[in-house]
């Protein structure tokens, strides 16, 4: 007996003593269903294992694409205005009558 114990502690202590020790054998139904599921997994084609790999590859490719686009944009922005002027002049000279 511990008079300082809270009612909740006494309830938990009592509940903890009550153990459900019934049969522990797996039912035939459960075993059959689990094994059937396992066999289905076995018969699945192995290329399915590559799907996560492909997904990762696709994500990497997208990231690389975005990175390249950003890099191109930065380089274009930082290029000297003379290059644009020259190109514009050449274009004007070529196409303007």
């Amino acid at each position: 007996m511990n008079p300082t114990q809270q009612p909740l502690d006494r309830l938990i202590k009592s509940a903890g003593r009550s153990r459900q020790e019934e049969e522990t054998l797996m039912s035939f139904r459960t075993e059959a269903r689990v094994l059937a599921h396992w066999q289905t997994l076995q018969s699945e084609p192995h290329w399915l294992e590559l799907v996560p790999l492909l997904r990762r590859g696709l994500a990497c490719a997208c990231a690389a694409g975005v990175l390249l686009a950003a890099l191109t944009f930065t380089q274009t922005k930082s290029s000297t205005p003379d290059a644009w002027t020259m190109a514009s002049t050449v274009a004007n000279a070529t196409y303007t009558p």
């Binding site: 909740l8 309830l11 009592s14 509940a15 903890g16 797996m26 269903r33 094994l35």
Partner: protein
């Protein structure tokens, strides 16, 4: 493969190669553990056998991910606990509990708790469990799990961390909040009985 000569890694390797007898041995070996966990953590309205089946299906589906870095039993325990947690989340938490919701025997347990400071006699242990189950049913899934693991199964915080994947502060905070809520609910019942 009998229980004494059981080698989890060898068995898992054989199951991966498609050996049905190894799959059966794995089931037989792990069933008591899974059943114990499911019984301890299943929601009140979920069938025990269905949950055991779901756990084993997940175990076999994820078996290729088992690296052998941790004991198989720990790995399976984590799957079982997370499956129960998921099932508990589907069960709606009751908003309140009243004395009139309890059975006569559960009411007697409340009466004993209110009237004496002594430990409850062993004769009411089963009823205490029922009453505790009702109180746990008032908590959300995570809180229920932490109280069951720490208080009913007497696991350490480290063990709870291992089986849930939560951090130490999270385990402690959840346990504290859950106990505080249960205390309040039990006091409510005890006060209701006295009025």
């Amino acid at each position: 493969m009998d229980a004494e000569n059981w080698d989890a890694n060898v068995c898992v390797a054989r199951v991966r190669q498609g050996d049905e007898s190894a799959a059966r041995a794995l089931l037989a070996q792990l069933h008591p553990l899974v059943l114990k966990l499911v019984r301890a953590h299943r929601p009140r309205r979920t069938d025990e056998e269905d949950l055991v089946q779901i756990v084993f299906m997940k175990v076999f589906t994820k078996l290729d991910q088992f690296s052998g870095a941790v004991p198989l039993e720990h790995w399976v325990s984590r799957i079982a606990v997370n499956t129960c947690l998921k099932a508990m989340r589907y069960e709606r938490v009751r908003p309140e509990i009243r004395l009139s919701d309890l059975t006569e025997e559960e009411e007697q347990v409340v009466q004993r708790l209110a009237s004496t400071q002594d430990d409850l006699p062993e004769t009411v242990d089963a009823m205490s469990r029922e009453l505790l189950g009702r109180l746990l049913g008032m908590l959300n899934a995570e809180d229920r799990l932490v109280v069951t693991l720490l208080n009913l199964e007497q696991k350490t915080v480290a063990e709870v961390r291992q089986v849930t994947g939560w951090s130490t502060p999270l385990v402690k905070v959840r346990a504290f909040r859950a106990r505080r809520k249960m205390k309040r609910l039990l006091e409510q019942l005890m006060n209701e009985r006295q009025t």
